[in-house]
Structure formats: C-alpha cells, structure tokens
Subunit: 269 residues, 2 copies
Amino acid sequence: MNRQQLIEQIRLKKSYLCVGLDTDIEKIPQHLLSEKDPVFAFNKAIIDATRDHCVSYKINTAFYEALGLKGWEAMEKTVHYIGKDHFTIADAKRGDIGNTSDQYAKAFFSALPFDSVTVAPYMGEDSVKPFLQYEGKWAIVLGLTSNKGAADFELQQAGGELLYEKVLKTVSGWGSPDNLMFVVGATQADEFINIRKHTPDHFYLVPGVGAQGGSLKEISEKAMNQDVGILVNASRAVIYASSKEDFAEAAKAVAKGYQEEMAGYLGKK
Amino acid sequence: MNRQQLIEQIRLKKSYLCVGLDTDIEKIPQHLLSEKDPVFAFNKAIIDATRDHCVSYKINTAFYEALGLKGWEAMEKTVHYIGKDHFTIADAKRGDIGNTSDQYAKAFFSALPFDSVTVAPYMGEDSVKPFLQYEGKWAIVLGLTSNKGAADFELQQAGGELLYEKVLKTVSGWGSPDNLMFVVGATQADEFINIRKHTPDHFYLVPGVGAQGGSLKEISEKAMNQDVGILVNASRAVIYASSKEDFAEAAKAVAKGYQEEMAGYLGKK
C-alpha cells in the first residue's frame, strides 16, 4: 500500500487506528483453546470485528515466534487473512548488516506480504536501506519509543541534540516520506512538537495508547500534519477488551470508540 | 552453557571459533537442492565437519525467516542437531518493550534451546533485561558492529564519549559477565583496547573475520583477556569455502586453519 492509498483509507474511514495483534496464547479466551489454531482463530475474529474501524493491523512477531513453528504459521495465515485493504505492519524491530537485512526484507516483503517492517536504527545506513528497496513497501524506523528504557539512550545527549533527534534527521535522508515512517511513542507527548519539526512530512506509527497510558487527544493535536501523518496503535486495550466469549464484540466497541474520537480530530484538520 | 563451561571448551579445543550458519539457499551446492530440506542437509554436513574445531555455532535467523515456515523448521532442526557441547547463538538482533522482549526470550530460550540471543540496545533497559532472566542463558548486546553503518550512530559523540562506549558502560550494569556478552566487530580493531578497558571481564562475540576483512591476529592480540574472553565468528569464509560437492571438507579445512591459528594465540596467554 502506498502513501496515497493509505491517506485515502484514512479519509474514507475517518480513522487512523492500527490494531495491534500482540496475540498471547495465555491471554486469549479459554474457549478458543480447543480450536486447531487458537491464535489464528482469535485473530480472525478480532479482524472481522474491527476491520471497518481501523486502517492498519500490526503483528507483533515476538508473540508468534514464542510459539515456534505453529506461531509462524499463525502469523502467515493472519497476514494473508487481513488482505490488501489494510496497511500491514510486521512489528519485528529487525536490523543487521546489509546482506542480512536483505534477508529480513525478503522474509517480510517477499515470503510474506507485509506492507512494512519496524526497523532498529542502531547499526546505521546499510542495516536500514535494504527495507527501502521494495516498491510500495515501507521501513518504520524506531525514533523515540514509548517505554521507560527510551531514557537510557534515545533521550541522551548526542553531540548537541538528543540521540533520537539525530536518528530522525539522519535516517530521513535515507528514504522519503513515501517509504519511511518512524515509531514515536504516545507516552512521549512532550517531544511531539519537536519531532514534527524534524520530520514534517513523515508518517509516525504511534504505539503506547491504552495499556501504556498515552493520550490519543494529545498525540492527535500535537503530531498530525496536513496528510494526517499518524497511525495510532492500540493492542491490548482492543484485543483484550473482554476475556470472555464476547471478546470480538468488546474489541469492536473499543475500536469503534477510538475511531469516533479520531473522526473528531480529523474534522478539525 | 555457562561461562565456566564455555571457557573449559575453549581450553580443551584450543579454539574460540564460532561458525556462522548464514545458510543461503541460493549459495549452497546445487546437488543439495534435491534434498527434502536442503538448508538442514547443508548445515548438518557443515556441523559434522567443523564441530571438533569450533566451540560455538551462530545461526543468523534472517536467512531462515526468508524461507518462511520451512526456514523456521530448518533452524529448529539445526539448533537441536548442534546439541549441548557447543555454545549456540541465535543471531537475531531482537529487542522491544519489556512485555515483547519477554516473548522473544521465550522464543529462543524456551521454545528453542539456544544458549544466547543477540540483542539491539537502542530501546534501553527493559528491552534487554528479559534476556537476562534465564539461568545459564545469555544476552549478547550490540556494542560496536563490523559494518560501515557503525559510523552513523555507534561511533558518534554522545555526551563526551562515543555512543557505543555509553552502551557498553550502561548495559554492563544490567547483567554480569556471566550472562552478558557484547558484539564487537573485527573490523573495529582500532577501538579494541578502549573497548576492553570499559568491559574488562566480558566475553565479546566478534564477527567480521573473513568476508568482511577483519584480522584474527589483531583481534586476538588486542581483545583477549585472562579468560580468553572472545568468540570469533566466521560465516561465509567457512561455510562457502567450496561451492562443490567437497563443501564440507573445504569448510573443515578452513575451520581447522582458524583453530590452529587460535591455538597459537592461546599459547601466548
């Protein structure tokens, strides 16, 4: 999915919601455990219930890898089931020397049909560039993350600026707003105006709303640009809205709630 | 495998060689492509041929993920085939917020029997700590990598020191030399004495010998400590020593050559 198509989907649905499929087999409703593939059964129900209210799904690869082969299979089935109308994100935080990042890009863009992969910037240009070589595909590079550990390096001084600022400025030169996004945590609202200054035209993937405590209102007010420019992810708050048989309806209600709130902020733009 | 067992293996075999199984289906000998699982067949032959000359195997997960389900299965079979006498490394460069790193740790330490995982430090403490919670298992955190991109951030100023130095100093406080190693590229020999000063007791995983051009002699002279303290990885130089039917013998000869050179450096300690 390219930038224009993504913006169209956002305008059409009045939503910039990304639903995070951090599907943990220990947290899904008990009655699904008798299914042949409980993780996929859960994802399928969540996708069916939420697809009208979101424009994107983010698959957190860790939760699938933790189940070994069966997990990888559930991930494969899930991304195919989502289809082409939603922007798909492999939240995989990959990145290695060039010849190895080539293989990761192949894994997610060729063996699997993801639109994008999250990428860690620490190893520099040759670790990121292979993800920028596929037509219509995206690298989503870590900028300022939502977790406590962001203070350890990302928010440290790095030659007259903060490290995450250096990352935004440097990495944005390696691609364009057509194939490069950044991860910016919803819990980092104080830095949002500064972040938008460095990267005015890029989309941000914003996790941290819901379970992690970030405010949708604050992000939307401070980080939106003329093309909307943000995808706000909620994972646990949506998919675990209920632990009972009504889990899909409950997820739908939460996703719909976010969408309606988003429609309000979009109306002001 | 714990630190004491690793040091014993190194002393016993007079080798601190790690063989990197970056197995690319496009580069393995043609005659293996008729096997049911060509990647595993290749790895099995390489392991049989090199196991006496190395103390460790490093599986570069990217090359397996690029093949999808079949690749993950080949990785699983390979790590089981290696067994308990070699130190196994999942070269996966993982790292995410705490609840997600928990899942990655589970993937490699519980669903799979790896001794260690390589971890990217950018997201800070809660992204690394989950890998340090398993008895006898290790996190191998990126310090100064072997690639050109190391200059983009790792070698940049970060508050009066270089970023990779800040990483070594900060991260070494999160674990101990018993559960934490660092990745230090063989191509970075100029920095080796400085690196050893910051982290005198830790083991380093040193990639970059062979195809990437690092010197085994230089690393060994500058980075070894009283417990040896280094695992030197060679991937392409060993596993692709020949592209013909004699690939395993050729790999053995190269591994043996490294081992004999290493025996010489160990003799001087």
